[in-house]
């Protein structure tokens, strides 16, 4: 009975969330609309990282590499070499390129474990950081590049929508985020997703049952990289610029922070984490110039006292409720 009630409560909350999210741009506050777009893009980034961190048990500290790479694919195709800026070509290209490189890097890094994995993923992200920082042919410069414009959306002569309008872009990003959430919930229920969670719990046991653990991890690493690339692609469009800092380890750390804030290994953890993180950033930076200091203090307090993330607050309240009234 309690399960049924909490299930509907959860569904009502989710439905309400989507209604509010869909209605939000109608307020016409462009500044806040763009902020929510940023939150949704970061949610996509965090969810893609969660596939590794929360579900496969791989702590990647180089996820920003894929984020930045996806952004740079669009910048190179659309601005630097001006081959095409068509959405239907550049978005798949960004995801394919990041998928390809995360597959290659995965072949190396997945041979390592634990601390080594953390540091090796960081090191590979640094390689990409320096490539986009130093190589002229990849638009290398510490200032990055300003983009020529938003992607065009024509399919033949037909133009279904224009990404130049903030609201249209909002709904486009929202659609992708919802799509990713659906994809994730299906993936996690599939035999493949179950196997990943099995690997998280006990890799050796999965190996001895006969699962090809390395291939499963490689597949997860590749999928996760592709979606991070998608997030980076969207972020480049939002800012109309790309920058090597998108590949920096601060960006990777931000992704990990969002998951710790929201709660990892939970479908909604990434979304809640991205919301909390960006809200925290905005609030702190309006109150004080030294907002990094307070961000640092907040991170330490959360790690020490709330390791389960914001989602665990709900569980804690429920537990207190249960103890008191049943």
């Amino acid at each position: 009975m309690i399960a049924a009630i909490s299930l509907t409560a959860r569904n009502v909350t989710i439905a309400l969330f989507f209604i509010l999210l869909a209605a939000f741009p109608q307020l016409g506050q462009d500044f806040y609309t763009e902020m929510v777009i940023r939150v949704m893009i970061m949610s996509i980034f965090a969810i893609s990282l969660d596939l590794l961190l929360g579900y496969t048990g791989l702590v990647s500290f180089g996820h920003a590499g894929w984020f930045g790479m996806g952004a740079y694919v669009f910048a190179l195709l659309g601005t630097k070499y001006q081959l095409t800026s068509n959405l239907w070509l550049t978005l798949p290209a960004a995801m394919l390129v990041t998928a390809f490189f995360s597959f290659l890097v995965g072949l190396f890094v997945l041979r390592t474990r634990g601390m080594f994995f953390i540091m090796v993923t960081l090191a590979f992200a640094q390689i990409f950081y320096f490539l986009f920082h130093d190589l002229k042919s990849l638009g290398g410069s510490s200032d990055g590049m300003n983009l020529r414009g938003k992607p065009t959306t024509a399919i033949g002569d037909w133009i279904p929508f224009e990404l130049t309008s903030t609201n249209t872009f909002y709904y486009f990003v929202m659609l992708l985020m919802v799509g990713l959430l659906l994809f994730m919930s299906l993936l996690l229920r599939s035999p493949f997703g179950r196997a990943l969670q099995g690997i998280r719990e006990n890799e050796h046991r999965m190996e001895s049952i006969g699962f090809p653990v390395f291939r499963y991890k490689l597949a997860a690493f590749t999928i996760s990289g592709a979606f991070a690339g998608m997030a980076g692609y969207l972020f480049a469009i939002l800012n109309s610029s790309v920058n090597p800092e998108m590949l920096s380890w601060h960006q990777s750390a931000d992704g990990l922070l969002m998951l710790i804030l929201g709660g990892m290994g939970q479908l909604w953890g990434g979304v809640i984490g991205a919301f909390t993180f960006i809200l925290l950033q905005e609030v702190l930076s309006t109150f004080t110039k030294q907002w990094h200091l307070w961000m640092g203090v907040a991170i330490i307090l959360i790690v020490l006292f709330l390791p389960g993330g914001m989602i665990s607050i709900v569980e804690r309240i429920k537990n207190i409720w249960k103890r008191r009234f049943t």
Partner: protein, 285 residues
Amino acid sequence: MDLILIQTLNAVQYGLLLFLVASGLTLIFGVMGVINLAHGSFYMMGAYLAFTITSMTGNLLITIVLGTIISALIGAVLEWAFFSHLYHRNHLQQVLLTYGLILIFEELRSLLVGDEVYSVKIPSWLDFSVPLGSVMTYPVYRLFMSGICLVVAVCLYFFIQRTLVGAHIRAGASNRAMVQILGINIDRVFRLVFSLGVALAAFAGMINAPSATVSPAMGTQVLIVSFVVVIVGGIGSVWGALLASLLVAFADTFGKVYLPDYSGIAIYVVMAAILIWRPEGIFKS
């Protein structure tokens, strides 16, 4: 030929400096099992200490002695306040907590000494160059740095290999539970290792300050390179760290000369190559 000689001297000097930072990092990893992202901040702290104390005393040697003691004390306090809570936490929590510490250190630095780039004066008795080959000269301070770093590395070797406390540290790195059962106070060993690591990193920052600039980004740069050193050398292995420091320094220095476009990635390519050969570093612990 002279160019190669000069670059070799530079590489050795850079490698030894890197070793001072990375040896602390690898000991903290190996003995305490903690990933310390804030290690680069201690290097930065050393450089800023050098700047602050020399502007008061005007003497680099006094500065280094005083600065090393101060940083060892700061290390002990930090271990007590933060790191001692991390031993039973998972890697992710360690990464995040120490990342939070970086943000705090960087902001405190900005509040206390500002964001400007500073320089520290080379003491006058070391501020000259010696001829090298027929046309080139080489600054004596850099040779002095290499010498001092080498002395510290040898002292570290004797401390770890030849003293009782060193034996405790080595034992702690290989089997923590057994050390405790034998009645050794492992908490004290941890605190010692941590403040030793902080002191080494800060010492490196101080000794390097006169020959480079003191700038806000220096902590992050050295941190990531030290990570590469620790991976290549093998976690917890001080000798691996020495070998890997020199390897990384040579790759970086000669990469800058011969492949300037790709110099940023040279050390990571070396790392990838080593990891294919030995996935747990050269000296697996």
